[in-house]
């Protein structure tokens, strides 16, 4: 059945349960049909036009399917290319952007060091990060992985692995609740964590 199928697809979205999915379907089926149609069209092309940025891992848009996508931040010439902020996930990048504290660019690791979750040092994109630092002439790195145990371990590992590059490194201050999530930090807390960063 068509409705069943749509409900079960919607229910696969994070934070959406069976009940909410049912409500979405009801809305889409009874509201202005243009909403469902436009949404459908956009979603159908999503994977072709919205992809991780080739340079930083942020979400990026491109008009040409099949061509590498570069995000708005990486293509913004006013951004300071010598300052690089390393984050765990795109969510964290968005939270930092919202605080307005970052004038440089980003590098999204995509994961944190965690043997318990099957992520060892070799599973982190450290090689790509080193290339990026060399190519862009980065002189300062801000390690903005979350203040959780895994986030701290990741920062410590990067500090050691990047030491030979001779760039300045700092770690965001733990204004963000310990063991916490950057995503849930409000822009003011985030801004404070950013400006209060400590040299490593």
């Amino acid at each position: 059945m068509r409705t069943r199928r749509i409900v079960s697809l919607l229910a696969r979205l994070p934070g959406v349960g069976e009940k909410t999915a049912q409500r979405y379907l009801l809305f889409l089926a009874t509201a202005d049909p243009a909403i469902a149609r436009d949404l459908g069209l956009e979603l159908a092309q999503l994977s072709e036009h919205v992809r991780p940025c080739e340079r930083c891992g942020n979400l990026a848009e491109t008009e040409n399917a099949g061509v590498g996508a570069i995000c708005e931040i990486c293509s913004d010439a006013k951004r300071d290319a010598s300052l690089l902020c390393v984050v765990g996930r795109v969510h964290d990048l968005i939270a930092i952007e919202r605080s307005g504290a970052m004038r440089g660019r980003y590098f999204v690791l995509g994961r944190l060091l965690s043997p318990l979750e099957g992520v060892g040092p070799e599973d982190l994109p450290i090689g790509a990060l080193v290339d990026r630092i060399r190519e862009d002439g980065v002189t300062e790195i801000i390690l903005a992985t979350p203040p959780s145990v895994d986030g701290e371990a990741t920062a410590l590992l990067l500090k050691r692995d990047l030491a030979e590059l001779g760039v300045r490194m700092s770690r965001i201050a733990s204004g963000v609740p310990h063991g916490g999530d950057l995503e849930f930090a409000d822009p003011i807390t985030m801004g404070r964590a950013f400006f209060g960063r400590q040299n490593m």
Partner: protein, 370 residues
Amino acid sequence: MHALVAQTLQVRALRNLSAVDLEPGPRFNVISGDNGHGKTSLLEALYLVATTRSFRTSKLGELAPTGAPGATTSVRARIDDGISVHEQSVGLLGARRSVKFDGVRPAKLAQYASATPVVVFSPSELGLSMGPGSERRKLLDRVALYSGLGALEASESFSRASRERQRALETRGISARDLPQWEALIVQHGLGLMHARAASAERLAAAATAAFEGIAAPGLSAAFVYAPSAPTGAEAYLRALESMRTRDLARGSASVGPHRDDLAVTLGQIAARHVASQGQHRAIVLSLKIAEIDVVSRARQARPILLLDDVSSELDRSRTSALFALLGEQEGQVFLTTTRPELLDADWRGHASSATRRDFVIEGGVIRAR
């Protein structure tokens, strides 16, 4: 000093309690009932809503009623902390625990878990003197939590880092590249936990030594000293971890660290575990509990809620009497369970007036006023 008072308690689907709604009195609440009718479960419910844990088990899944699979365990309480009245609630769904303070999820678990200090006295706590270090570590951590020493965060981070190191050892061996990072974090958080425990031990020791003198035979004195397992210096601790990787891999956990700490109890210079008589063990336990009440009260400037499970069955006459004398002075809220309320009546005389006492009977998980 004001007292914490549970004004209402609502329990749903916890062990054999399907639905209990209780309005306790502000002082003594005596809950009587035959074996297996739900007395301990009721205290467990109150402990759960105050601390998010159980004093009987570390596996909260055990609290789900076996007769009603899929039922949601929940406990809600309205608590007067002497300044204002707030509501706390804990719900358990499978392995998930949801806690709300005045309807809002707290930013930190420690905030919630330390809001309403509770001290339990149950038969199983004889282990405090006779048993392994785990019970005494828990005592140190409870006191540290209520004293705001940051022990809960340190303990959670310490155990996460320890498990990460162990998994790295198991999957990639003793030269795994990320071991130094996990070990640095173990040391950082482990030392944090050790500092908190040392501070709680110091506070407990003074109070427990004094209490013991009042209870035990004249001339006998007890000492209580924090005995950390790991070196207390960062460098030495780090080196210990590094040098014991092979052994830790074989053991399945770190050979040294706060997870192996103890609070050493000695009677006249000798470890109490080896020499104390039954009566002396009981006196040590009672002293530690009195110290816990004392230290928590002073740290919070408020009287904790006391939960006494089946007390008179475990203590002998003179010690029960000492306990009641203490309860008489306490002026806080007390919950007491017993299978034999008539025995309690005898102890009661001279210590507390009946006007301050409210009686309940529990039968098959259903509670009513007596």
